[in-house]
Amino acid sequence: MAQTIEVTGLRKRYGDVRAVDGVTFAVEEGEFFGILGPNGAGKTTALEIIEGLREADEGQVSVLGMSPWPRNPGLLPRIGVQLQSSSFFERLTAREQLRTFGSLYGVPAGKSDAMLELVGLDGKADVPVEKLSGGQAQRLSIACALVHDPEIVFLDEPTAALDPQARRNLWDVLREISTGGRTVVLTTHYMDEAEILCDRVAIMDAGRILRLGPPAVLVRGLDAPARISVASGVLTAEDARLLPGADETGDDGVSLTISTRDPSAVVAAMAAKDALDGVQIRGATLEDVFLEVTGREYRA
């Protein structure tokens, strides 16, 4: 498959801060690519260099076979960008906002209006941007990035500062926009989000990429234990410890949790004891991957 974005040996310093410190990766056409890392990891800096907003100190960037720096008017109509701060024209309504951005790309008004529906804002067309909720503003911002139907979309932390419900709603929109062969590059500091949305994830910390791959592969590569939990009282802790394959157990009064490297044996044994009330099985997550590669707990 064609490499839509190729980044090689990217570096950017601000004074003593190495914001991006030797980053190399490629994004394939149609891929949903995530850059995951805590605040200050260098995600925005890397993304803005790729978009053509900043000049790299070192390294090469190629987007759709072109160099984004210096400002490349041949490339700009083919990419869509949502910046980390939602940037709107003051006092325009959602519809006017979209039409204005659309017209900068020669998009007719009717097509701009259709974008409102895609992001579920058709009911808010005449609301001034200042009156939109956080989630609605993010949707509008995404619609503005998509209004000219770009081949690649860059989204910088689109779900930051949203409540859990608004985040989940936005995930549906994000899945929707990655259909039809469009490449999406997203940054996030939410592990679950990267895991659920992205085909591949680059885990970034302190300007470097620590791991890169499909979330499932990264997690599996950990060989971390699975955690099985049932409601407290279904099984005593002693009984649980004696189950075949069980490593460690703990009961916090609400749930009994068993960690194991052989979840199927444990579950089969629990089923035989008819002790599967409210059972939950949780495998390792990207958080465990982060813990392993950095040696510290993940904190966004």
């Binding site: 978009e51 053509g52 907003l53 400002r71 008017p73 700009l76 109509p77 990419i79 960008v81 910046l83 980390q84 701060s85 939602s86 940037s87 709107f88 024209f89 003051e90 006092r91 325009l92 006017e96 039409r99 204005t100 951005f101 017209s103 900068l104 790309y105 020669g106 001034p128």
Partner: protein, 357 residues
């Protein structure tokens, strides 16, 4: 994707943003208009008032003076015949007229009210001079000395003639400086400038749109000011070359936009930009002759006024709109304002930043 398309939609966005900003509308349009209405109203009676006098019976001395004094005397004095003596005196007492006059033989008797000292003085002085002139004429000799009186302002320069261009200049300056600085600061701090950098719109269209919107706002301000000032109650008289105010204010708007760009490029927050804009515009309006005529100001103030671009806009507009100077008279002012625009823009470009760090 054409530059024109981008220019059009950016202008529209800017215009809507301005029109929906109540406080910007108030401070750049309504507030100066209110000043015009108030100042125009307060000072409307400021040109030399006519002295109204009632004539009781016949007063040949007065009639002769009026016939010979012609226009000059007619301009300052109106004489009306009173129906009867008692009524005339009552009107004087009430202050409806400046005085009442009756001739008894060789004596001209002037009835006046001491309630209004100024009017009393005026009517006494006027009548005295009429008698002096009559006495002098009775000698059959030509007068040895004559007195020619001329007011400093030509008489068309009523208060409204001064306040319209002056307050308009203030309004134009605050709208342009405010518009440019606010756009630049908010668009930068909100990241809109960077977002536009990522669109294919040519960057100069962003600035062209700002200039176009500011010019349109300036023309609306001009039209509103002239319309209000020409209401019968204010009675602005536009002189022949008034239309030269339009190229002049275009140059003025460019100059003030460049100052606004400077403020906007330098200031980090909207609040700072706002405060600095006020700090520039208000003193400039005071010392640039927006609120009082500079020719009545002390010498140091007149000298100082030359550093303020608004001075040249005010002076030029006053000359062509109110003083009746020819269209070519404002060319020096236009030149100076364009010079300020170029210099200001060059510095603003150097200070310009895309992002808020």
């Amino acid at each position: 994707m054409s530059a024109y398309q981008s220019f059009k939609s950016l202008s529209r966005a800017m215009y809507l943003g301005f029109r929906r900003d109540r406080s910007a509308l108030f401070f750049t349009v309504l507030f100066p208009l209110m000043f015009l209405v108030i100042f125009g109203g307060i000072f409307s009676g400021q040109s030399t008032p006519k002295v109204e006098v009632l004539k009781i019976g016949q007063a040949p001395v007065l009639e002769q003076a009026l016939a010979q004094g012609g226009d000059e005397l007619g301009k300052v004095l109106t004489v009306t015949a009173a129906s009867d003596r008692a009524d005339a005196l009552r009107q004087v007492a009430k202050g409806d007229v400046a005085g009442a006059v009756e001739q008894r033989g060789d004596r001209l008797v002037v009835h006046y009210s001491a309630a209004d000292q100024v009017t009393a003085g005026t009517v006494r002085g006027l009548m005295n001079s009429i008698i002096q002139a009559a006495n002098q004429a009775a000698t059959g000799q030509p007068p040895a000395y004559t007195l020619a009186i001329q007011q400093v302002e030509d008489d068309s320069l009523k208060a409204i003639q001064f306040f319209t261009p002056g307050l308009l200049g203030w309004a134009l300056a605050s709208a342009a400086v405010f518009g440019a600085s606010q756009t630049l600061v908010t668009w930068r701090t909100k990241g809109l400038l960077r977002r536009l950098q990522l669109s294919p719109a040519p960057i100069p269209t962003v600035f062209a749109a700002r200039v176009a919107v500011s010019l349109a706002i300036a023309l609306v301000q001009f039209a509103l000011f002239v319309l209000v000032a020409r209401l019968p109650m204010f009675g602005l008289q536009l002189e022949g070359a008034w239309w030269m105010a339009i190229p002049l204010l275009t140059a003025g708007v460019l100059a003030f936009l460049s100052i606004g760009m400077l403020v906007g490029a330098w200031a980090k927050t909207q609040e700072t930009a706002n405060a600095v804009t006020q700090l520039i515009v208000l003193p400039m309006a005071f010392l640039g002759g927006s609120f009082f005529p500079l020719d009545q100001a002390p010498g140091w103030m007149q000298t100082m006024s030359h550093i303020f671009p608004l001075r040249y806009l005010n002076e030029g507009m006053l000359n062509v709109m109110s003083r009746g100077l020819g269209p070519g008279s404002v060319l020096p002012q236009i030149g100076i304002l364009l010079g300020v625009a170029v210099a200001g823009s060059l510095i603003a470009v150097r200070l310009f930043r895309w992002e808020a760090h």
